[in-house]
C-alpha cells in the first residue's frame, strides 16, 4: 500500500498538490498498485511526516521544502526572489541541472528521496491591507510579515521593513495594523477568508510557492524495476497535471480576487524589473553560500 500524506484539502479547483496527487495516483492504480490518501494532518505535522518517511512507515508525502533544507539548505535556492520566471522555467532548471540527484545524495542518510517539486499556486505577489503597490517606493512605510530571515533581507533590499510573524497570527496582525501585508500566492486571501481586510494584490511574481514530493527511500529501493518505472511515470503525470492546473488558474486567480473586491495591480515586466533588480542584493547577503547561489543563478540563466 502506498500511503500519500496530503498537505491540503482534497480539492481539485484549489490545490496544485492535489492535482499532482491525482495525476500520480492514476498511473500507479492503472498499474495495479494500491494507493491510499491520508487526509491532511492525519499522520502528523511536517516534522512527523518527514520522520515517518525516514523510518519507512509512510511512503510519500507532500512536504514543506524546509524538511529537505533541514538536512541540506541548498534547496533554499528555489526560494531566492526572481530566480525563475515561472514554474515551467523552474522545472527545466531542476531537470537540466540534475538537482534531484544532487539533493538525493545529500538526504540519503535520512533514508528519504526528493521526487518532485510541485507549484501550489500562481506565483507570489504582494498582499496588502491598504497600500496599492506598483513600485518598491510604494512600500517604504509598510511593515511586512516575513516568514524567515531570507524574507527580512528581501524586504530590506526593497527599502521596506520585514517582521517575523507566525502564520496563525497573520489575520489578527493585518486587521490590527501590526503588519501591513505579506507575500503569498493570490489564492491565499480567498482561501483564508481575508478579503474583508486585504484590499490590494500586486502581481509582482516574486517567488514560486512550492511543495516537495518526498518518498521513503526504503520503499523506493524495494520496488522492482517495473514498479519503479511506474512510479517515475506517475511523477511525470503528476507534474503535467499540476502544470495544466496552474496554467488554467493563473489568470483566473486574479479575477477571483477582483470579484471579492480586492484591487489587483497587474505590473508590467518593466515594473516587475524594479523589484527584481533590488532583490539581487539578497543573493549576495551571505544567507546562502555564494557557490550555491552561483549554481542556481547559472542554471537559471542557462534554462531561461
Amino acid at each position: 500500500e502506498v500511503k500519500i500524506a496530503l498537505d491540503s484539502a482534497p480539492e481539485l479547483e484549489n490545490s496544485g498538490t492535489y492535482n499532482w496527487v491525482q495525476g500520480f495516483k492514476g498511473v500507479l492504480e492503472d498499474a495495479g498498485m494500491d494507493v491510499r490518501e491520508m487526509p491532511r494532518d492525519s499522520v502528523g505535522n511536517e516534522a512527523e511526516k518527514f520522520d515517518q518517511l525516514s523510518t519507512g512507515l509512510l511512503e510519500l508525502s507532500l512536504s514543506d521544502v524546509r524538511a529537505i533544507a533541514q538536512v541540506d539548505p541548498f534547496i533554499y535556492g528555489l526560494r531566492l526572489p526572481y530566480i525563475f520566471d515561472d514554474s515551467a522555467h523552474m522545472q527545466r532548471a531542476l531537470a537540466e541541472g540534475k538537482i534531484f540527484d544532487r539533493v538525493n545524495e545529500a538526504v540519503a542518510g535520512q533514508d528519504v528521496m526528493l521526487l518532485a517539486i510541485v507549484p501550489i499556486g500562481p506565483s507570489s505577489g504582494i498582499i496588502t491591507t491598504d497600500a496599492a503597490v506598483r513600485t518598491p517606493e510604494d512600500m517604504a512605510d509598510l511593515r511586512m510579515r516575513a516568514l524567515d530571515d531570507a524574507q527580512i533581507a528581501m524586504y530590506k533590499a526593497w527599502g521596506t521593513t520585514g517582521t517575523i510573524v507566525p502564520w496563525g497570527e497573520v489575520p489578527a496582525g493585518l486587521q490590527t495594523g501590526v503588519i501591513d501585508g505579506y507575500l503569498n500566492s493570490p489564492f491565499i486571501p480567498i482561501a483564508f477568508g481575508q478579503t474583508d481586510f486585504v484590499k490590494n494584490f500586486s502581481d509582482s511574481r516574486t517567488i514560486i510557492p512550492i511543495r516537495a514530493v518526498i518518498v521513503s527511500k526504503m520503499w523506493y529501493d524495494g520496488l522492482s524495476e517495473d514498479q519503479r518505472q511506474v512510479v517515475n511515470d506517475g511523477v511525470a503525470a503528476g507534474n503535467a497535471a499540476a502544470q495544466a492546473w496552474l496554467d488554467k488558474v493563473s489568470s483566473a486567480a486574479l479575477t477571483a480576487l477582483e470579484d471579492k473586491g480586492v484591487t489587483v495591480q497587474r505590473l508590467t515586466d518593466e515594473e516587475r524589473g524594479a523589484f527584481r533588480k533590488l532583490s539581487q542584493q539578497v543573493y549576495d547577503s551571505g544567507l546562502m553560500p555564494s557557490e550555491d547561489v552561483k549554481v542556481w543563478t547559472d542554471l537559471s540563466s542557462a534554462t531561461r
Binding site: T55, Q70, G109, Q110, I164
Partner: protein, 179 residues
C-alpha cells in the same frame, strides 16, 4: 540497593527541578527579548520564537517528571483498593506501575533504536541529521529531552517501590490546576 535508587531518584528530582525552573525563566526572558526587539527596535531576532518554544517543551517534559515524583498527575478516580501494604493495595500499585511502563518503555526503546538499523536509526539518531532552522544546532540536542524525561520517570517509579510504603504520601488534591 533501595537506598541507592531512592538517592538517585531524589538527586534527579532536584536536578530536573532546577533545569525546569531555568527553562521557565528562560522562556520568559526570551519572549521579553522578542517584545522589546519588536516594539522598541522594530526588528525581532528570528531565533526568539524557536528558543522559547523549545524551552517550553523542556519545561513541560521536565515538569512531567516533577508531577510524577510528587504524585500530582491528574487521575480520573481514586483507587478502589486499600493502600499498601495490603495485598490488594500491592496489586493496584503493580497495575499502575505496569501502565506507566507500557507507556514509557516503548518511548525509551524507540528513542534509541530504529525499526531497522539499530542505534543509528533510532529517533535520536535520525534527529542528529537534522538542523534546527534558526539556531543552527542539531535537533538531537533539543529532542533528547523526550528520553531523558521518560528515563527519569522510570527511576522515580523504581524509587516508589523501594520506598517504605508508610512514608508515602497519598496523592493530595491538586490546589493548582489547569481547568
Amino acid at each position: 540497593m533501595s537506598n541507592l535508587i531512592m538517592a538517585l531518584s531524589n538527586g534527579l528530582h532536584r536536578t530536573a527541578r532546577s533545569v525546569a525552573i531555568f527553562a521557565v525563566a528562560g522562556m520568559f526572558v526570551t519572549v521579553m527579548v522578542q517584545v522589546v526587539a519588536r516594539y522598541i527596535f522594530s526588528s525581532p531576532p528570528i531565533w526568539t520564537e524557536d528558543v522559547a518554544r523549545y524551552m517550553m517543551v523542556w519545561t513541560g517534559l521536565l515538569g512531567t517528571t516533577l508531577s510524577f515524583k510528587t504524585r500530582s498527575d491528574a487521575i480520573l478516580m481514586q483507587s478502589v483498593f486499600p493502600p499498601r501494604p495490603s495485598v490488594l493495595g500491592l496489586i493496584a500499585e503493580a497495575i499502575r506501575s505496569a501502565a506507566v511502563l507500557s507507556f514509557i518503555l516503548p518511548v525509551i526503546w524507540f528513542s534509541f533504536m530504529g525499526l531497522r538499523g539499530g542505534l543509528a536509526k533510532g529517533y535520536l539518531g535520525r534527529q542528529s541529521g537534522l538542523t534546527a532552522d534558526t539556531l543552527g544546532i542539531a535537533m538531537i540536542w533539543i529532542a533528547v529531552v523526550v528520553p531523558i524525561a521518560m528515563i527519569i520517570i522510570l527511576i522515580h517509579l523504581a524509587a516508589q517501590w523501594a520506598e517504605d510504603p508508610a512514608a508515602q504520601r497519598d496523592a493530595s488534591p491538586a490546589e493548582g490546576g489547569l481547568d
